[in-house]
Symmetry: C2
Subunit: 485 residues, 2 copies
């Protein structure tokens, strides 16, 4: 705790790595590219999971658990799928001391094994839609890795649904895209662009891929969730058929969609500051930390008051859930040390309680994001406390984080029709909003010259009046362009 | 649904397999020994997880997530550990298209990788105790497998704690044993014996292993949770040291402990009957199912009443949590078909609502375990309903399941000093309570002749008056003996 944190403005990447380690969110392990998520980071992930899971269940999805291992031959059944994933596979060749007849792949995603099982389970139109989600670990053999953002093994959820008609499956794809947008904006205070990806950025095996893309303070995009319309590609590869009401056997239409612990990386980058993490109250492991201000003469009374306050707060609620509160009663470190510690850890609201507060029957609240102070009445005798005011402060932090993310995004979406300006924009200013002729050649050339790609499509162009920012040909789309993580 | 279920008394193993498949708890997959947990089975597991997780958090444990892969060399560092686990390992030899320099093991358990990280994190006595739990998938290459009971990949929680003194670590080991006992008996209504295992049944690398053992209807033991005192074995293998208050560097003392989805198999076997599952209300995916009794003339009113009842119940609670209720409003199948379906799925209480019930302003409750019927007042106009009575019925089911399990266990613990009788007991009657001379030779010989082993030790014998049921020598322990899953 002694060394100062590298300022965010000075070296963003270094700042990120320091925050992850020093706030004890995660640590490196001796397994290349695999991190350990420490208790504080995992509590954050658990709250994120709960927020997403609630949204899945409200929309009729159920959780299940499919095998970690997938027979190698399964991965090969969908031709684009194997092409996309084969360079990334971890392969189990030996089990129980013997060489396996067929190697097993550690799942990089589960469309194939789930496709096989859906073919068993789905017989009639009455079995549709089938709406299943899985919380799981997956493995993709990545070269360069960074905690939360890109790791060999990662935790995620993957939804897999099967539908009777193309229309139903397309609706599901977009329903989930909207669910992800609402989750990102409302639960974790990220501002995102939601839309369709270009062909080159599509999931291997999908007909169309949609994504939510957040913009990080360095101007780069963080793909934070994807929703794929898979058409009948996997249905045909795995023979998922049903007898429809008209007595005709048909292939189902499927979708898949996922959000990973990468979103934790997004939170850190979006909201953090030079003092450390700033966590959105709805998902923070601790929403409130109680810090007694201890002097020798009044130590006993102040500690007693802090304990009473904490016990009382543990019975309170915020955002419709039990309030998550922690008391730092350690009497060997100074208040200043503790303030820094809990600022580093991003706790949204600190409640200070010292002898002067006790005398005034109050505690002092300090908001993490803007350090705004506000006293709250606390009567030690009766236990009376201004709960609603505290909840209001927490909501205020949440709202400000959300608004700031929105403002930053809006101010950094920059329209341009000039490729010189385009290059400057995507080099750190933000996302360029610009015409694209829709060809893979243009996207590849732009990527080579600027490292930027189409993040999502903004709209189709039918007028012929917009030109491609790179080729000058008529634009087929207006796209959001940016460099990405 | 058409074929009758094999009666439990006729073929217990076949009954079990049918129930698992037909109640849609789990299914086989093309990956040998790996099952898929279907939504109904996974919802049951989620409730079991929540019940255990609450107990862990109440006792100061935090969750974290460690890597799936462990370097092969790590597994070898603790000599007993590698000896025990090497025949069961799944090994990743290739990643990203290349052969790995060092193979990676898919974790069979995580003492080694966690030991390595604890050595990084623990420096001072102030860092102790470190109380961490992980919910994860693990892989052990088993030959014979059965859904939930023994699978190559399984879901579990593994706790790993580090302590300053031997006393602290021993206390933790026993605290968790007691936590597991309370969980098994109170949350999932299994009656268990809790105690120390013999040397031969110890975890590979432990100083002492404790377990909870349930008795299944076929008289066999189901080891349902284990708690290991690891001494300083892993501390020394992974160099986990701390500077104590006396300024002396010391090795920590560690424990580990786990419960897996095997407990789901225990629930099925313990409580089920010839009609299917019987689920303990505290963990049942649906605690209540609403079944309208539909006739053509009164269909509209009855469906409307069932919907109102369901909506109202969804706002109610049971066992301090929101009530989990499902309505089966399908109007194409008969009430009898639905009764069978939800009995198969083990829903603790069925609420029937038909035209006669409507006329009498009531619904009829039927308990799953004993089919006891009890009318509950339900006023369609005002929505008034006898909530407390319903909760009482749910609690009654829970209590009866718990008591029955306890009675069955007690009636099948049979004391004997005669090896002829011993053989009969462990061949299906239950557990033999008998003297053991404490030698590995005796335990091995008994196992060879009867397939039974010491499940847990009941007590030490100091008097010299008890003799070993097999060798006739003075007994060192009185033990519970039984065949096991």
């Amino acid at each position: 705790m002694a060394d100062a944190i590298t300022p965010r403005s000075q070296d963003f990447a270094q700042w990120y790595n320091e925050i992850v380690r020093r706030a004890e969110l995660a640590d490196y392990t001796p397994v290349r590219g695999c991190m350990v998520i420490r208790p504080y980071g995992y509590a954050l992930w658990e709250n994120i999971q709960a927020a997403l899971d609630r949204r899945f269940k409200e929309t009729g999805h159920q959780n299940a658990y499919f095998p970690l291992f997938i027979p190698y031959s399964f991965i090969q059944k969908e031709s684009e799928h194997i092409e996309g994933f084969s360079p990334q596979l971890a392969v189990v060749t030996h089990g129980g001391g013997e060489k396996l007849e067929e190697p097993l792949v550690v799942r990089p995603t589960s469309e194939t094994i789930i496709g096989h099982l859906y073919a068993k389970w789905i017989n009639s139109y009455r079995d549709l839609p089938l709406l299943i989600n899985q919380w799981a670990n997956v493995v993709r053999w990545e070269k360069a890795t960074r905690p939360f953002l890109r790791t060999l093994e990662f935790l995620w959820q993957e939804g897999h649904t099967a539908h009777r008609t193309e229309k139903d499956a397309r609706e599901e794809t977009l329903k989930i895209l909207e669910l992800y947008r609402a989750f990102a904006e409302e639960d974790v205070c990220l501002s995102v662009l939601a839309g369709r990806k270009s062909e080159s950025e599509k999931f291997a095996g999908a007909v169309e891929t949609y994504a939510i893309e957040a913009m990080m303070p360095d101007g780069k995009a963080l793909q934070s969730g994807t929703s794929h319309f898979l058409g009948q590609n996997f249905a045909k590869a795995f023979d998922i058929k049903f007898l429809d009401e008209d007595n005709v056997e048909k292939y189902v239409w499927t979708t898949s969609w996922g959000v990973s612990h990468r979103i934790v990386g997004g939170l850190i980058m979006q909201h953090g500051d030079d003092n450390g993490l700033v966590l959105p109250p709805q998902v923070a492991p601790y929403q409130v930390v109680v810090v007694p201000i201890i002097y020798d003469q009044t130590k006993a009374q102040v500690l007693e008051a802090a304990e009473k306050l904490t016990a009382m707060l543990k019975g309170a609620s915020a955002f419709g859930e039990p309030l998550r509160v922690h008391a730092d009663l350690d009497d060997t470190s100074s208040p200043g040390f503790k303030f820094s510690k809990w600022e580093l850890k991003g706790v949204p609201v600190r409640l200070e309680i010292g002898p002067k507060d006790l005398a005034a029957s109050q505690v002092m609240s300090v908001a993490r994001d803007n350090r705004a102070k506000q006293p709250l009445k606390f009567d030690l005798g009766t236990g009376a406390f201004e709960h609603e005011k505290l909840e209001g402060i927490l909501k205020g932090v949440h709202q400000r984080l959300k608004e700031r993310a929105g403002e930053e995004m809006r101010s950094r979406l920059i329209e341009t029709a000039d490729f010189g300006e385009f290059k400057e924009i995507v080099a750190g200013k933000g996302f360029a909003v610009a015409g694209w002729d829709g060809t893979a050649e243009t996207e590849a050339a732009v990527k080579e010259q600027t490292s930027a790609t189409v993040r999502v499509l903004k709209s189709e162009v039918s007028s012929g009046k917009v030109t491609c920012v790179f080729s000058g040909r008529p634009a087929q789309y207006i796209a959001y362009w940016g460099q990405s993580y």
